[in-house]
């Protein structure tokens, strides 16, 4: 059974946005700090650091989760997506990101990466959500700028356009 000593750094390897990555981490290092400081992926933001604010939400093995509530060493072998993985190519936003821009669903942008990762996952499983359900889902995120109204509008708009896109494809 692996025992990783507190005083040493240990190899952590996982798949991030489709690419194999690795780095060294002490057992106590949070996944948020590993992403930002070891891998240099600063798109994932750190807010409250105890799971309440939602800014650090990423996709871990296909589900949205708080990166601050996971040790880097726990992520060894996992498949992760972060906000850097949303845009299909440099200079082009995803449909959800475009909706955020159209609706002014961000102001300071601190909470945005977490909300985008949550909604990206949510809209995949819930292509035609009710506004109430989007609002309940968004209770997992704090935004102090927008008052949430434009975020809800962007989510519903993105859902509608994603449905349209799927229909034209079939």
């Amino acid at each position: 059974m692996p025992r990783l000593s507190a005083d040493a750094r240990h190899r952590v390897a996982f798949v991030l946005n489709g690419r194999a990555v690795e780095g060294q981490a002490e057992p106590r290092m949070l996944l948020t700090d590993f992403l930002r400081h070891v891998l240099g992926m600063t798109g994932t933001h750190v807010g409250c650091e105890h799971g309440v604010c939602g800014a650090c939400t990423v996709e871990i093995d296909g589900v949205p989760a708080r990166a601050c509530l996971m040790l880097a060493v726990q992520a060894d072998g996992a498949i992760l997506r972060t906000v850097e993985g949303l845009a299909p190519e440099p200079g082009r936003l995803s449909l959800l990101q475009q909706a955020f821009r159209r609706h002014h669903a961000l102001q300071c942008g601190f909470c945005t990466p977490g909300i985008l990762m949550s909604l990206d996952n949510y809209l995949r499983d819930n292509p035609d959500p009710r506004e109430d359900d989007v609002r309940i889902f968004l209770t997992g995120h704090l935004c102090r700028c927008t008052g949430y109204v434009p975020i809800v509008a962007a989510a519903l708009d993105a859902a509608a356009r994603l449905r349209e896109m799927k229909e034209t494809q079939t």
């Binding site: 059974m1 692996p2 025992r3 990783l4 000593s5 507190a6 005083d7 002490e26 057992p27 106590r28 949070l30 700090d33 650091e49 105890h50 799971g51 939602g54 939400t57 871990i60 589900v63 949205p64 989760a65 708080r66 601050c68 509530l69 996971m70 040790l71 060493v73 726990q74 949550s118 949510y122 309940i136 889902f137 209770t139 997992g140 995120h141």
Partner: protein, 275 residues
Amino acid sequence: MKPARFDYVRAESLAEAHDVLAAEGGEVSVLAGGQSLLPLLSTRLARPRVVLDIMRIRGLDVISHESQAIRIGATVRQAKLAAWPDLAGGQPLLAAALPFIGHAQTRTRGTVCGSIAHADPSAEIPLVMLALEGAILLSSARGQRRVCAAEFFTGLMSTAREEDELIEAAIVPRRQPGHGYAFREFARRHGDFAIVACAAIADERGARLAIGGVADRPVAFDGLPLDEAALDEALDRIAGALDARDDLHASADYRRHLVRRLGRATIAEARQCRA
């Protein structure tokens, strides 16, 4: 803040986990989904010497039927239980309470048994365990034992688990014919810790009501009358006797008020569901 230093041990079998707990019990924090433990580590309210990760132990990630009960293994995540097709038919109270636990983004990783181990006085799963008179299966190198929920929760974030023991499963009684179940809670925002939460079970003779968020652990009352005037009187007595406290979120008086209102509404809903 950042967690203090600790060794990280990843158990690959139940026996390995038992060995670590037997050798270093008092110094160990068990890590499952991490949704309660990681905040404790980051704020340094917990400073274990060893963090024992049990998530990769095979066979603990299983929900199964026992005679008259549902067995939920130690590493079953809340989202997995919520998506289990037999849940609403098997135990509607559990199905009703699950959406109130934290947020969708924490239920994806938080485990059912982890919430029981953490024993927060406002937490939904301990309340449901007490309401249903469920049991907690503890295991150690010494063997296994079952502790009923009423004896397991001993106070504020305190349980009857010994230092060398691991929660191996939660045992939740299946729905009984002729019983109705309901769960309600009041929080300022959905997903916040409940200021008061109520779980009720009603049959044709009376109701059992469990209340969370008020005292230092969930508490339950049996034999509540269904007659409205008598029920109001009983709820007044219960609300007055509860060891309610003032805090940042609500005064003791407000909590007592909520116990009366929510208690009555939850029992009424449980009676309706029975039909």
